[in-house]
Amino acid sequence: MSIRERLSGNEASATAMKQINPDVVAAFPITPSTEIPQYFSTFVSNGTVDTEFVAVESEHSAMSACIGAEAAGSRAMTATSANGLSLMWEMIYIASSLRLPIVMSLVNRAVSGPLNIHNDHSDAMGVRDAGWIMMFSENNQEAYDNLLMAHRIAEHKDVMLPLMVCQDGFITSHSIENIMLEEDSEVKKFVGTYKPEHYLLNRNEPIAVGPLDVQPYLFEHKAQQADAMRASKQVILDVAKDFEAWTGRKYGLFEEYKLDDAELAIVCVNSTAGTTKFVVDKLREQGVKAGLLKLRVYRPFPGEEISKALAHVKAVAVLDKSDSLNSAGGAIFTDITSSFQVHKVNVPTINYIYGIGGRDTKADDIESVYKDLEYVAKTGDLGIPYRYLGLRR
């Protein structure tokens, strides 16, 4: 039986970690993810978990400790935000290349500078090609559910990749909303125990992890990572199916909200999807065929599936909460438009950079995007496709 509760996104993430009861948690506080290790350390003090909590001196050490713990054969988790992730940068690549299925809760925040502690996605987008599976969460429920599914995906023998579960800093991490929690014993059963095939503390099989990987080898090891990333797509879907059978909550690579018959579509991730659903409902009442594609899994990138899901619409707007500063467009926009090209989908597509540094994005802003899409659909005139939403000019 599910338990009805009300929790913030950070509380929900810490609760998931408590129920998963990992062997090691190594984390360093940084706004807005601080509460996750803070709540978790109280679980450790109260004896509600068996976890070894490593109070490290930096995020570089947090990720390093997780790498050591996973290589040793245990299950390790961490949480961070923004510049904390930046400080982990070097070890982020080590974790994925050593194929260690570490699970991280990333509470999205703008990477400084100038100094800002509020929400955007520049932290996550900075590591989008680092070989981590990346899942985004609209609200506290999804942050919780994604974490419950995380280890089954990351530790699958065809995958063996680290995984991060993202949610919006403050907007969902600090907002208290209703949530359905699952029972501890049921979570334990679903997540299972981690039994790695090879690990450092196995005295029957001494192994070396992370040796020098020179010219004849690194290329193949990177291609193995790419293969694992491709394979993870099916594993994510399989785990979601089991999760649905257990909880009744259904997940895919993305959520299609009134997209079947939509003519105008927005693509976005995280909490903005909630605002967009509100606007879609309002526009539908006015007879506007608006729809939403909310991306849940960003890495692996479901380019083929997205292209199929959007092929019938008349115009698409991709919302990026991180500016790539590249004069080409945001990360999700460039990924989607290149997938369209590869899969021969020709739908006029525009890009909006929005919500940078925690700038509020209101229903009116989203409505103005659908208005712009109406014009693009009618005229086919893209104008400048790389646009800004809510920017003062």
Binding site: I207, P211, Y217, A228
Partner: protein, 94 residues
Amino acid sequence: MSEINATTPMNEMTIGGNIYEAGNARNFKTGDWRSIKPVYIEEKCKQCGLCFPVCPDNAIPVNKELKREDFNYDYCKGCGVCAKVCPFAAIIME
């Protein structure tokens, strides 16, 4: 574990370059890093035992009688530390 070399196809390689056996540094011959090499002059050697402990690798083999033998050039990188400590000029670098 079967040997992995520069012709091993990708799907037969271990993930992350992991090596599933102990003592594998022996398989990595680093002698070709050397630009100069130590030469052992046996007649001058008094078997004093000062050279082999300072070798940063294990390039000076010592036999059961605790006597040093000629260099193992598979691993000697030519650092010259042994020549420096030898009091009898029994090791010269060339």
